[in-house]
C-alpha cells in the first residue's frame, strides 16, 4: 500500500484536530431526549418558588405567612428569620461581598427574594407566593450610579455601613464598593497635556442580561440516611459550587455531589450562586425530600446576573498624523445592590485593563470605581472574558472618535497604531503579555475581502445622493478590531474564592482501545463532547468516535473551575492534550517492550509507534492498550490512565477584524444590517464547523446588545426590560447573514496552539455595529451616542442632526 495514502486514511479516521466532525450531542437533542434540570423528576419531589419585593428600596416591617401556609399543598414558607439560626440568610458572593439569600429587614432591588415557598406542585407554590403578606415602608431608591456617592445619597447597605474596608480596599462612601486602578496616571495625564490632538468621550455600556433560553434552576436532594446532599443544577462551574456549598452549609465536601446536566445555554448567567440554590438545599435538608426550583423568565432577567452597566470616560492623546501617545480611562461601575460580580478575586474590574486593545499605546491608565444602586446584583461576563467586551467597546469607539477628529480613515488609523507582528510577545502599558498576533495581516485580509475602498466610494455616492434628495437612507461602515484575553488563568494571579483557575482532564483507555475522558469543565452548547475528543484523537491516535467525554459530575470528574470566559479550550483543552501526552509516553514504553527496542528508537505516527526507519515494525494504540492490561511489563504498572491538572502559563489572546455595513432610514431609524464580515484568529482551529457556529451565535448576541437590549430602571427602581415583551432577542428575521473568515496565529504557550473563540464575536461585534451606526452620521458631525441603537434612538439622532423629514 502507498504509505502516504495509508497515513491520510488513518488521519481521517481519527477525526482529530481540524476536522469538521459532526456533533455527538445532537442525536439526543434532535429527538427531545436531552436531560435539562427541569426534566429531572424524583419521587416525592416538592417545588420551590419565591415571594419577591415589588419595591426597589423598602424596609420590611412585617411578614405574615399564615395565608400562604393555609393553602392546601403548601409544606413550608421560609423567610430570613428561618435562615438566621443556620447563618444562611446571607451568602458570600464571588466578589468578596455578601448577598441576602432572603431579604433581611430591607429589600434593595425590585423582585428581590423575600420568602421561599415549598409546595406539592409549582401552581400551588405560585398561589402561595402571592399570599405571603409583607408590610413595606418604601424608601427613596438610588438608580443613577452618578449620584451614588453624593453626600445625600440614600444608605443602601445597612448591613455593612460601618465596614469602610471592602474586599478590594478602602470604601470612600457608604455606597462605594471599591476603587481599583492600573497603569501610570501621571504619565497618561502628561501625554494628554503634551498631545497635539486629544479626544474625550463618556461611553456607556448599558445594562443587559445573558438570557440563555433555559433559565437557572436546581434540584436539591438531601439523603438523610447517608448524609449526602446532591445538587443538580444549571452550573457553569460545578466543582466550585460544591466547594462553596460545603463552606456555607458546613456539610463536608465529600458528602456533597454537584451535577450539571445538559445546560440550555449559559453565556455567564450560570456562573454565580443564587438564592434559589441555597433555599432549595435548605428546604431539602429541612423536609428530607428533593426540592426543585426553576426560575421563570421574568425572575431570570430581573434577579440573576445582569451584565455590563459600565460608564467609561475615555481620553486619547495623539499626534496630528495619527500616532496614539496615551490613554486615560475612568469607569463608574454600577454593581447593583450587592457586589456579586463574577471576576477572579484579585480583579474587581475583571480584565478591563486590556483596554489598550490591539494598539501599541506607550502610556496608559485605567481606574474603576464600583458603586451600589437599587438594582439587581450581578456583573457577569456575558459571552466575554471578564469585562473585556466593555474594554473593547470603549477603545474601539474611542479610535473611531479620534479618526473623525483627525479626519482619517478609521481602518487606516487602526493600521497605523497596531502592535506589529515582530513585537510579540508584547507587554502592554497596563501589564498584559500578549502571546501572539498578526494584526496587519488580519486587517488587510478583511479590508480586501469586503473591498473596503469600493464601500467607501459607494458611501460617498450615497451621501451625495442623500444631499440631492434621491434617497432617505444613509450608509454606515463599521470597522472594529479586537483583542480578547481569555483562558483564565494562571494560578499565580487568578483564583475564584481562593480556588486557582487551573483545569483538568482524566483519561482511561479501555482494554479494547476505546477510552473515556472526564473534564473539570461543562458544556452549555459548545460541543465539548465532540471537540475535546478531537484533541485527544490527535494526541493518542484513538478515533474520536471511540472516546466518550464526560463533564459536570463532581463525584466522577476531576476538579476544575468550569466553563466561562472562553477558558475551556485554553485551559481544559490544554489539560486534555497534556493528559493525552502522558498516555502516549506510557504507550511508548509499552510499545518498546513489545517490539523489543529502545524507546528512543520509536517514533509516533498518527495512531501507532513504529521503529524509526522500519514502519512495518509497529504497534498501534489499540494493540498497546490491550497489552497494558494483559502483559506483565517490567517496571510498569498495568493499565493505561492519566490525569493532568493544567495551570496555564499565560492567558491567550484571540483577535479579529470585523466589518459591518448598515443602511439607515433617517425617517424611521430602522437600521438594516446589509452585510457583516467577521475574521477571527483563534489560533489552532479544532473544529471549523463548531467555530463558525460559535461566531454566528456570538455575532447575533452582539447584534442584540448593540441594537436593542437595555435593562433600565425608572426613578423609583422599577425594572424596565425585565421580560421578553421588552428585552430584545433577535428572531431569524432581524438576524442578517454572517460571513466568516479566519487567519491562524497559534498561541506559542498552549500545547496545541489553540486560543478559544466562543466569546470573540460578542467582543468584536458590539463595536462593529455601533461604529457602523455612528459612521452613517459621521459626516454630519456625530461623534458618539449611547447604545442600544434601536430604531427610536437612531431616529432621535437623525432628528437632532436635522435630517428627518
Amino acid at each position: 500500500m502507498n504509505v502516504h495514502a495509508d497515513t491520510k486514511e488513518r488521519v481521517e479516521k481519527l477525526q482529530g484536530l481540524g476536522s469538521s466532525r459532526k456533533r455527538v450531542e445532537d442525536a439526543r437533542f434532535t429527538q427531545g431526549a436531552g436531560n435539562y434540570v427541569d426534566d429531572i423528576k424524583l419521587p416525592g419531589m416538592l417545588f420551590g418558588d419565591f415571594a419577591r419585593s415589588p419595591y426597589g428600596h423598602a424596609r420590611i416591617k412585617s411578614i405574615n405567612k399564615d395565608a400562604a401556609l393555609a393553602v392546601p399543598g403548601v409544606v413550608a414558607v421560609l423567610t430570613a428569620e428561618d435562615l438566621k439560626p443556620l447563618n444562611l440568610h446571607y451568602m458570600p458572593t464571588l466578589a468578596g461581598d455578601v448577598q441576602a439569600v432572603l431579604a433581611d429587614e430591607k429589600v434593595l432591588f425590585q423582585n428581590q427574594e423575600v420568602a421561599f415557598i415549598v409546595a406539592e406542585d409549582r401552581y400551588i407554590a405560585a398561589d402561595a407566593a402571592d399570599l405571603v403578606e409583607v408590610e413595606y415602608e418604601e424608601l427613596p431608591a438610588l438608580v443613577d450610579a452618578f449620584k451614588a456617592m453624593d453626600d445625600d445619597a440614600p444608605l443602601l447597605r445597612e448591613d455593612i455601613k460601618d465596614k469602610m474596608e471592602g474586599a478590594h480596599g478602602p470604601r470612600k462612601h457608604h455606597n462605594h464598593i471599591f476603587h481599583w486602578e492600573e497603569g501610570d496616571e501621571a504619565g497618561a495625564n502628561q501625554a494628554l497635556a503634551d498631545a497635539e490632538v486629544t479626544v474625550e468621550e463618556m461611553i456607556t455600556y448599558q445594562r443587559v442580561h445573558p438570557c440563555p433560553l433555559e433559565t437557572c434552576g436546581c434540584v436539591a436532594s438531601m439523603d438523610k440516611i447517608n448524609g449526602k446532599l446532591t445538587l443538580w443544577g444549571t452550573f457553569q462551574a460545578p466543582h466550585a459550587v460544591r466547594t462553596v456549598a460545603s463552606l456555607i452549609t458546613n456539610i463536608p465536601e465529600h458528602n456533597i455531589r454537584v451535577v450539571s446536566p445538559d445546560i440550555g445555554g449559559g453565556f455567564g448567567n450560570k456562573v454565580g450562586v443564587y438564592a434559589g440554590y441555597i433555599c432549595a438545599a435548605v428546604a431539602s435538608i429541612v423536609t428530607g425530600v428533593p426540592i426543585k426550583w426553576v426560575e421563570d423568565r421574568i425572575e431570570n432577567l430581573s434577579t440573576t446576573a445582569f451584565a455590563r452597566d459600565y460608564h467609561m470616560t475615555g481620553k486619547l492623546a495623539a499626534t496630528r498624523d495619527g500616532r496614539i501617545t496615551g490613554l486615560h480611562c475612568h469607569v463608574l461601575a454600577d454593581h447593583g445592590a450587592f457586589d456579586a460580580c463574577a471576576d477572579p478575586t484579585k480583579f474587581p474590574a475583571g480584565f478591563f485593563h486590556i483596554c489598550t486593545g490591539s494598539y501599541d499605546i506607550p502610556v496608559a491608565y485605567c481606574g474603576v470605581d464600583g458603586v451600589y444602586t437599587n438594582k439587581a446584583p450581578g456583573g457577569v461576563a456575558y459571552r466575554c472574558s471578564f469585562r473585556v467586551t466593555e474594554a473593547a467597546y470603549m477603545i474601539e469607539r474611542m479610535i473611531d472618535v479620534l479618526a473623525r477628529k483627525l479626519d482619517m480613515d478609521p481602518a487606516e488609523l487602526r493600521m497605523k497604531n497596531f502592535i506589529r507582528k515582530e513585537q510579540f510577545p508584547y507587554t502592554s502599558a497596563l501589564g498584559w503579555e500578549y502571546d501572539s498576533g498578526d494584526y496587519h495581516t488580519a486587517m488587510d485580509k478583511a479590508l480586501e475581502s469586503v473591498d473596503y475602498k469600493a464601500l467607501r466610494a459607494e458611501q460617498q455616492e450615497n451621501r451625495a445622493a442623500f444631499e440631492r434628495g434621491d434617497t432617505r437612507k444613509l450608509m454606515g461602515i463599521g470597522v472594529a478590531f479586537f483583542t480578547e484575553i481569555v483562558g483564565a488563568g494562571p494560578v499565580k494571579n487568578c483564583d475564584i474564592l481562593g480556588l486557582g483557575m487551573f483545569d483538568s482532564c482524566e483519561i482511561r483507555i479501555h482494554p479494547t482501545g476505546s477510552a473515556i475522558a472526564r473534564l473539570g469543565t461543562i458544556s452549555q452548547g459548545q460541543g465539548h463532547a465532540t471537540t475535546f475528543a478531537q484533541i485527544l484523537a490527535t494526541e493518542i491516535g484513538i478515533p474520536a468516535e471511540d472516546i466518550t467525554l464526560e463533564e459536570g459530575d463532581t463525584d466522577t470528574a476531576p476538579y476544575g473551575l468550569g466553563t466561562y470566559g472562553s477558558r475551556s479550550t485554553p485551559v481544559a483543552g490544554a489539560a486534555t492534550a497534556m493528559a493525552g501526552r502522558k498516555i502516549r509516553a506510557k504507550a511508548q514504553m509499552i510499545a518498546a517492550y513489545l517490539l523489543e527496542v529502545h524507546e528512543g528508537d520509536l517514533e509516533w505516527d498518527v495512531d501507532r509507534f513504529q521503529v524509526k526507519g522500519n514502519p512495518d515494525a509497529h504497534k498501534t494504540m489499540k494493540e498497546i492498550a490491550f497489552a497494558s492490561y494483559n502483559q506483565a511489563i517490567p517496571g510498569l504498572e498495568p493499565g493505561l490512565e492519566a490525569v493532568s491538572y493544567y495551570d496555564p502559563p499565560n492567558m491567550t489572546y484571540p483577535f479579529g477584524a470585523y466589518i459591518c455595513v448598515v443602511d439607515i432610514d433617517v425617517d424611521t431609524g430602522v437600521t438594516d444590517v446589509r452585510s457583516f464580515y467577521a475574521l477571527d484568529d483563534c489560533g489552532t482551529r479544532i473544529n471549523p464547523m463548531i467555530i463558525e457556529g460559535q461566531v454566528h451565535g456570538g455575532l447575533t448576541e452582539a447584534l442584540a446588545i448593540a441594537m436593542g437590549q437595555d435593562i433600565s430602571y425608572d426613578e423609583i427602581g422599577n425594572i424596565r426590560g425585565g421580560s421578553l415583551l421588552d428585552f430584545f432577542l433577535p428572531t431569524a428575521v432581524e438576524t442578517p447573514l454572517w460571513q466568516t473568515d479566519h487567519t491562524t496565529t497559534p498561541s506559542p504557550h498552549h500545547p496545541i496552539g489553540a486560543k478559544g473563540v466562543g466569546e470573540s464575536p460578542n467582543v468584536g461585534g458590539v463595536p462593529a455595529f455601533s461604529n457602523a451606526v455612528h459612521d452613517a452620521f459621521a459626516h454630519k458631525g456625530l461623534t458618539h451616542t449611547q447604545m442600544p441603537h434601536d430604531h427610536w434612538r437612531v431616529w432621535e439622532t437623525a432628528r437632532k442632526l436635522g435630517l428627518t423629514g
Partner: protein, 163 residues
C-alpha cells in the same frame, strides 16, 4: 382544585387523564406524560421552546390550556421520528448542518419546521426566516438552522419525487 377529564392523542397514542382546568398543555405534557422534549423558556409566548403540533398547526403549548386540547391530535418532538426509530429528514439535517448548539430550542424549532415544510414544501430562505420567527435561539444565530431546514426541504422533495 377539582380536576377534569381530558382525552387526546399524543404522538399517535390515545391519552386519557385528569387535570386541573388551569393546567397548561406544556405542563401536562412534561409533568404528567413525561414528554420533556418541549421546553419552557419564557412566560410571554415569545420563545417557542414549547412548540408542539396541535391538529395540524404549530402552537406554543405554554399558551394553551390542557383542557383546550380535548380531543386533539398532538405531535411533540418525541413523535417526529418514525416509529421504527428512523429519524425525520429535519432531525438528520440539523445534525449535518450544525443547526443546534445547546439544544434547548431544538425540539420546538424542529417541530415548527416540521409543520412549516408541510405548509410550504419549498420555502425560500426568507420564507423560512419568517416561518420560524416565533422560535428564538440564543446560540446559533439561525444561519445553520435555516440551512438545515433548506436541506431537509430538498431531501423531502427528492424523496417525494421518488415515491
Amino acid at each position: 382544585m377539582s380536576k377534569i377529564d381530558v382525552k387526546m392523542t399524543v404522538n399517535g397514542k390515545a391519552v386519557e387523564t385528569k387535570t386541573e382546568p388551569r393546567t397548561l398543555l406544556i405542563h401536562l405534557l412534561r409533568e404528567d406524560l413525561n414528554l420533556t422534549g418541549p421546553h419552557i423558556g419564557c412566560d410571554t409566548s415569545h420563545c417557542g421552546a414549547c412548540t408542539v403540533d396541535l391538529n395540524g398547526k404549530s402552537v406554543k403549548s405554554c399558551t394553551v390550556f390542557a383542557a383546550q386540547a380535548e380531543g386533539a391530535e398532538i405531535t411533540t418532538i418525541e413523535g417526529i421520528a418514525k416509529p421504527d426509530g428512523t429519524l425525520h429528514a429535519l432531525q438528520e439535517a440539523f445534525r449535518q448542518h450544525h443547526g443546534l448548539q445547546c439544544g434547548f430550542c431544538t425540539p420546538g424549532m424542529i417541530t415548527r419546521a416540521y409543520r412549516l415544510l408541510q405548509e410550504n414544501p419549498n420555502p425560500t430562505e426568507e420564507e423560512i426566516r419568517y416561518g420560524i420567527s416565533g422560535n428564538l435561539c440564543r446560540c446559533t444565530g439561525y444561519q445553520n438552522i435555516v440551512k438545515s431546514i433548506q436541506a431537509a426541504a430538498e431531501e423531502l422533495s427528492v424523496k417525494e419525487a421518488a415515491e
